[in-house]
């Protein structure tokens, strides 16, 4: 059990890690303390203690069904934890809704992307944050801004007027990420942002995250399956196993090998236990 107790001073250090990305400004952007969550008889999260430094990029790894997505949905206000607390910039907050979490600067990209197939690209990019000149939508302004942002990111789509349904998986994902990135979020939560993407799109998104990291203005939690990509882009890695954070190291202090070994060892141990009983 390598879980760090909350409040260890390490996160507050203006650490010099992260290679050419420069030091972190210091302090915690987000801290989760003793988060627990059950769905009926199923316990998804037992006791989650997690911290995210200002400007830090934290990789959250773990098996399927370990509770990563549940944790993300709690941190963005979509679900309420059964126990435990969340601190934003050191202040305790109750994230009572997605809207409220957004107003505090927490923005999420869900695994299912939360895009509306029937709506155009630009309406999706401004979903629930529409620009309005009451009572009408300012479609032109939203269309122009969406086009500018997607061009800046290097994402080519035929037109921002087409419904999202007509785009490829990778393009849809890029749009969901663009929506979150351009929302002036202070904390960005990304659930498998690279899952359905082609090589070029992966490069675009990794560049984008790298760019955010360089500026150190946004703190990011990335849920990932690919250990190599996670180590490449994240400052620090947390491993989530059976509802707890069981591993917490700087990326430079660990390796794909070590992460693999831990997960495989865990699997073997569980298998043996099952065989014994």
């Amino acid at each position: 059990m390598a879980a760090q107790a909350p409040g260890t001073p390490e996160s507050a250090q203006p650490g010099g890690y992260g290679g050419d990305y420069g030091p972190l400004p210091g302090g915690d952007a987000l801290r989760a303390e003793h988060i627990g969550k059950s769905f009926g008889a199923v316990t998804a999260l037992v006791d989650i203690n997690l911290h995210l430094g200002r400007g830090e990029v934290l990789g959250l790894l773990g098996d399927n069904g370990a509770g990563k997505s549940t944790l993300l949905k709690i941190l963005c206000g979509f679900q309420r934890p059964d126990s435990g607390g969340i601190l934003l910039n050191g202040e305790e907050v109750t994230l009572r809704s997605v809207d409220y979490a957004r107003s505090l600067g927490i923005e999420a990209v869900y695994q299912d992307l939360a895009l509306i197939n029937q709506l155009s690209v630009y309406h999706n990019m401004f979903l629930n944050r529409e620009r309005v000149r009451w009572p009408l939508l300012s479609n032109k302004s939203m269309r122009d801004t969406a086009r500018t942002h997607l061009n800046e990111m290097g994402i080519n789509i035929p037109s921002v007027d087409v419904p999202v349904a007509s785009l490829s998986g990778g393009q849809r994902q890029a749009i969901a990420i663009a929506r979150a990135v351009y929302s002036d979020a202070k904390v960005l939560l990304l659930d498998e942002p690279l899952a359905a993407m082609g090589a070029k799109e992966v490069a675009i998104i990794l560049d984008l995250i790298g760019d955010l990291k360089r500026r150190r203005e946004v703190s990011i939690i990335i849920i990932a399956h690919n250990y190599g990509q996670a180590l490449e882009v994240c400052d620090r890695i947390n491993l989530l196993q059976h509802g707890m954070i069981t591993f917490d190291k700087q990326s430079k202090d660990t390796s794909v090998q070590e992460l693999n070994d831990i997960v495989v060892a865990e699997y073997r141990r569980a298998l043996q236990e099952r065989q014994r009983s």
Binding site: I116, N117, Q118, L119, N128, L167, G170, H225
Partner: protein, 349 residues
């Protein structure tokens, strides 16, 4: 990265529609294309064709002021106004079967308030609309808060409202309260008033659906309810609101029709106006799958249905045959709708 095969890195180029070099022909073709892509195009063509057919074959009877009033004010307008509410509900994945009974009961509310309780005429009319609002709220409460499927919710509330109307009125029609007659002209008694109401309501809600946050969130709610919630949209509020809009519109049509027919009948309304308006919505291009629909289309659909009802009446074909045609029209429209959507999705990039 198991899903990496999908569209690996093939990003589309910005679209450049190749022109033929001939400006006018090009513009015309693009114009036709834009028109053809509008979901309302099909129903508009069908409606115009129907109007032309009945008009050309019955130049004296069909093309007359009396008949036009029948077609638009008596038949089309009530269907169109209720269809506005049903389209909003169908888009967010719900339906209201009870709206026709709100229609039945609303004029009785006006009658009893004015005649028995001495409520001033205008206030009685407004309160009958508030009654529709409350009915919509109850439908929303049962569907959203208590998680009943709206089909069942409104089946139940429809029976209750229909029963209440019969019970309160002892199954007897009432005459329009004299005090309200002055407002009746504005609402529905004069020949064109109901048509004007319908056009204005369709126009307003067409803008609400396509150009406001409410419309966008209604589409989002029906298109991807989980996604809409994840984006922070209060989908419950959207559904409550659309049930309430439908309730008010149902009550309005009930009161209007009572004035138009100069009679408050406990057997007016019922399922027929609801089924007609859902039919209008469907043939107008609203799929019952949620997430898409058009209010203008439903308005035109209401005219198409009314043209059939009225046209067959003029020609002298029995109303029973009309029902067969309706059935065919619903199925035809739905087949076109579903198959076109499938084609569109297969052709997706």
């Amino acid at each position: 990265m198991s899903k990496m095969t999908e569209q690996g890195g093939t990003l589309l180029l910005p679209d450049e529609t190749p022109g033929t070099g001939n400006g006018t022909v090009d513009r015309l073709r693009r114009g036709l294309g834009v028109f053809g892509r509008q979901r309302e195009a099909t129903i508009l063509v069908v409606t115009v064709a129907l109007l032309l057919y009945f008009g050309l074959t019955n130049p004296t009877t069909f093309v007359s002021r009396t008949n036009a009033v029948d077609l638009f004010s008596e038949n089309a307008a009530p269907i169109a106004i209720i269809a506005v509410g049903e389209v909003l509900l169908l888009i967010c994945g719900e339906i209201d079967l009870s709206v026709g009974f709100i229609y039945t009961l609303a004029p009785f509310i006006m009658f009893y308030l004015n005649v028995y309780y001495g409520v001033p005429a205008l206030l009685a009319i407004i309160l009958s609309l508030v009654f529709g609002l409350v009915c919509g709220w109850v439908n929303g409460f049962l569907t959203v808060t208590l998680h009943l499927p709206s089909f069942i919710t409104t089946l139940g509330t429809g029976f209750i409202l229909g029963g209440l109307a019969l019970y309160l009125a002892h199954a007897e029609p009432k005459s329009i309260p004299p005090a309200t007659v002055g407002y009746g002209d504005w609402l529905g008694a004069s020949p064109w008033s109901q048509t004007i109401w319908a056009v204005v309501i369709v126009a307003i809600f067409a803008v609400v659906l396509t150009r406001t946050r409410w419309g966008l969130h209604t589409i989002a709610t029906g298109g991807n309810q989980l996604g809409a919630r994840e984006a922070g949209i209060n989908v419950g509020r959207i559904k409550y609101g659309n049930f309430m809009i439908t309730g008010v519109l149902g009550a309005l049509v009930g009161v209007q029709t009572a004035f138009y027919l100069n009679d408050i009948d406990p057997l007016a309304g019922g399922y027929q106006p609801m089924f007609y308006s859902v039919t209008a919505a469907v043939i107008g291009g609203t799929a019952m799958l949620g997430g898409s629909g058009t209010i203008i289309g439903a308005g035109i659909g209401a005219v198409a249905l009314s043209t059939l009802i009225d046209g067959f009446d003029v020609v002298g074909i029995s109303a029973n045959v009309v029902q067969i045609v309706f059935g065919g029209a619903i199925l035809g429209a739905m087949i076109a709708n579903v198959q076109l959507t499938r084609l569109r999705e297969r052709g997706r990039t």
